[in-house]
């Protein structure tokens, strides 16, 4: 295995990732479409990081990145509430909001969309691009396929 250069190893993995992502996406077709807007996503990030929070808390967090009026944050959370992106506890006077979607599923959705719109669905290209611009010739692709077979066989033995 030590014969393979980093890039070769990468290509093998990238291919594997590509295959799995595709399978995963197919098995997810009937899931609810989560499509937060840019700022909604920012708020979700805050809720994911800090857990259930009041509007005030969220707003203060937001302000660290960019000055934002209190009612702006409030309105956003209300909108997100209607979209079922967040739930809220109205017990105390200041409502406590919490994310109603998990970070993972949201990332999964957004990743799929991003893959389609930006990389035309090629997870392979995405990973390769993440590394640097390495063109893969048809020949290389074949090489990968061969290597992959070996790798798969090996993995099935070595896997925990």
């Amino acid at each position: 295995m030590l014969l393979f250069s980093f890039y070769e190893k990468l290509r093998i993995l990238a291919y594997e990732i590509s295959r799995r992502l595709e399978a995963r996406r197919e098995s997810m077709e009937n899931t609810a479409p989560i499509k937060p807007t840019e700022t909604e996503l920012e708020i979700l990030q805050i809720l994911w990081q800090h857990g259930p929070s009041t509007v005030r808390l969220v707003n203060e967090e937001q302000n660290k990145a960019k000055e934002t009026g209190y009612t702006t944050t409030l309105k956003l959370l209300q909108i997100m509430y209607e979209k079922n992106l967040v739930s809220r506890d109205e017990e105390s006077r200041s409502h406590v909001y919490r994310a109603a979607v998990t970070e993972e599923e949201t990332q999964q959705h957004l990743l799929g969309r991003f893959l389609d719109t930006t990389f035309r669905g090629s997870a392979m290209k995405l990973v390769m691009q993440a590394l640097g611009n390495h063109r893969t010739t048809p020949d290389e692709l074949n090489q990968i396929r061969h290597l992959l077979k070996k790798l798969e066989d090996d993995s099935s033995h070595a896997d925990s």
Copy 2:
């Protein structure tokens, strides 16, 4: 090396990717900010795939996915022209538009943005997410760091 399971191998690579992406992003800070909107990106995709095209051509392509008026496409291209996302040849009566940004650099930019907004900058998480939801404990992370060192040493010998 054959002791490593697929996921272990993946984590090593993901970490490496993460490091490189970060370096890459830092060295790119002073680049012009390419931020095409959703539909602008769709048009760029068409231009990248088909090469320089007339408005008519682009519009027909667009219609395969979603009915779009001719002047709508035209207007978008004009806007993109002003933003320098595309250039155009006005020789013949029907102008010929071509992408003024490469697919790679655009993907690079968008990937960076996406990474920040959706994965809080963690390429590692992105790749892991692409594969499936595997939690990485702090302990695992340490393991990776160790493995990486080995891998790096090995790579520097084996690399082409």
